[in-house]
């Protein structure tokens, strides 16, 4: 099971994660904070998910693999 942990206080809506992997990440229209599709996160390649998480300029994203 893969969980994406978002530190909402660090997300500034830069959108790099969305550009890297729009199947999993999107931005909330209202506050511009990241939205995660947890279901889609289970199915994408590990490498892609790692790259998307690393594309965040503020380290707002973390992957928890259990």
């Amino acid at each position: 099971m893969i969980r994406i942990v978002v530190d909402r206080t660090r997300c500034f809506g830069y959108g790099n994660c969305v550009a890297a992997l729009s199947e999993v990440f999107d931005l909330n229209d209202e506050d511009g904070v990241v939205l995660v599709d947890e279901e889609a996160a289970q199915t994408v390649a590990e490498r892609q998910l790692d790259a998307a998480v690393r594309s965040c300029p503020t380290n707002a994203l973390r992957i928890n693999r259990t």
Binding site: F12, Y14, G15, V18, A19, E30
Partner: protein, 401 residues
């Protein structure tokens, strides 16, 4: 893949760091060395003109990799070591102290250094550039209320620092050769709005001028502009752009007139030698032309792509490399305001204004080509708009032909 192969990554900025991470995640299991010209652990630059100037505790946060991370990755990190020469025939990088680094593959990520002003007085105490952690630490110690600061060059780094300094109670003036900041980059309409914001933040702006000289005994006291006008200042931050840090590559085949030249795979003229980041001009097939981009997101994406392609080449699978196509993107935070730009602005295009109905501080300008397709967008305080434009432009420009 031969585990006895050696890859050397030159430059431990964000591009160099993403390059070593990508070497490992794409399956390279040979010897990996990261050479960084600056002492200490690799760190990130964007905060240096932002939070870092306000709050020292951000320092720990800007580290890109810990020593444990480097161990886990199995990377030998040579910090405070500068590479002085590339010998393509011997396939050796020569570093200072007589260090020889033979390589099978290399990724060159030397980044850029600030362009220097050549007017009189730049040696005076109080005249500063901002690129490194040391620069930022020095500038922060000079940011005390009541001081008079001049920012030479109204680029993003200068404007970010200017807004922060004004917020701290300094008397700040930005001087730029353009009539309005960002005019060449974004057009008059956008520049006019950004200038208003700058003034609202308490920053003075003098456009259409350049610095003629810095004056003072040993410390800066006055700046004279080219029209003869004088501004009292005890701190000057010069931010007039950056140039690729490539003097050490002089005479090799990897250089162009504008940094390191690379093909669509980010490979230079030398087998197994790739490049990425601020110093790299590569053939961007998304636009069918060579481009050099000095933004964070390009540095990480390009380094990731270059390292993956090098891994293919070293494994004898050069045919499975992927061209690195990119749509430029950057953000800038000026105090509480977030500016995001994606794509390119066609020359002369002023763009179309959009305002958010919910929030008057949110606006965007979209730029279209002659056929009416969206090619660029500026979004202010409006990340959702920026991301929409980015998806739209990327879906059109990045799809392989």
């Amino acid at each position: 893949m031969n585990s006895l192969q050696t890859v050397v990554v030159v430059g431990a900025g964000v591009a160099g760091v993403r390059a070593i991470q990508s070497m490992r995640s794409s399956g390279f299991n040979g010897h990996l060395t990261l050479v960084g010209g600056e002492a200490g652990l690799p760190y990130d630059r964007p905060p240096l003109s932002k939070d870092f100037l306000l709050d020292e505790s951000v320092a720990a946060d800007i580290t890109l990799l810990s020593s444990e991370d480097l161990d886990t990755l199995g990377v030998e990190y040579l910090s405070g070591v500068r590479v002085e020469r590339l010998d393509p025939a011997e396939r050796v990088l020569h570093a200072d102290g007589g260090l020889r680094l033979p390589f099978d593959g290399a990724v060159l990520c030397p980044g850029a250094s600030p362009r220097r002003l050549s007017c009189p007085g730049t040696e005076l105490a109080g005249v500063r550039y901002l690129r490194t952690l040391d620069d930022a630490v020095a500038i922060r110690s000079l940011l005390s209320a009541g001081r008079r600061m001049i920012v030479v060059g109204g680029g993003f780094i200068g404007v970010e620092a200017a807004v922060l300094a004004a917020g701290l109670g300094l008397d700040v003036t930005v001087v730029d050769i353009q009539e309005m900041p960002f005019q060449v980059l974004l057009g008059r309409q956008a520049a006019d709005l950004l200038l208003r914001h700058l003034r609202k933040a308490g920053v003075k702006f003098v456009g259409g001028r350049v610095v003629a000289s810095f004056e003072g005994l040993d410390k800066l006291t006055t700046v004279t502009l080219n029209d003869g006008s004088r501004i009292d200042a005890d701190l000057a931050l010069v931010g007039i752009g950056a140039a690729p840090d490539v003097a050490w590559l002089a005479g090799t085949a990897v250089l162009s007139s504008d940094g390191i030249e690379a093909d669509e795979f980010c490979r230079t003229a030398i087998d197994g030698v790739y490049a990425a980041g601020d110093a790299c001009r590569w053939l961007n097939l998304a636009y069918g032309s060579p481009m050099r981009v000095e933004h964070w997101t390009n540095a990480i994406d390009q380094a990731t792509a270059a390292a993956a392609n090098l891994t293919c080449e070293l494994a004898g699978e050069a045919h499975s490399r992927t061209p690195y196509r990119a749509v430029p993107y950057f953000w800038s935070s000026q105090g509480a305001m977030l500016v995001q730009f994606v794509g390119v602005r066609p020359a002369g295009c002023e763009g179309e204004m959009e305002r958010s109905l919910q929030d008057e501080n949110r606006w965007a300008i979209t730029y279209r080509d002659q056929r009416g397709s969206l090619v660029g967008a500026l979004a202010v305080n409006w990340p959702a708009r920026a991301v929409r434009a980015r998806k739209d432009i990327r879906s059109r420009v990045l799809t392989a032909d």
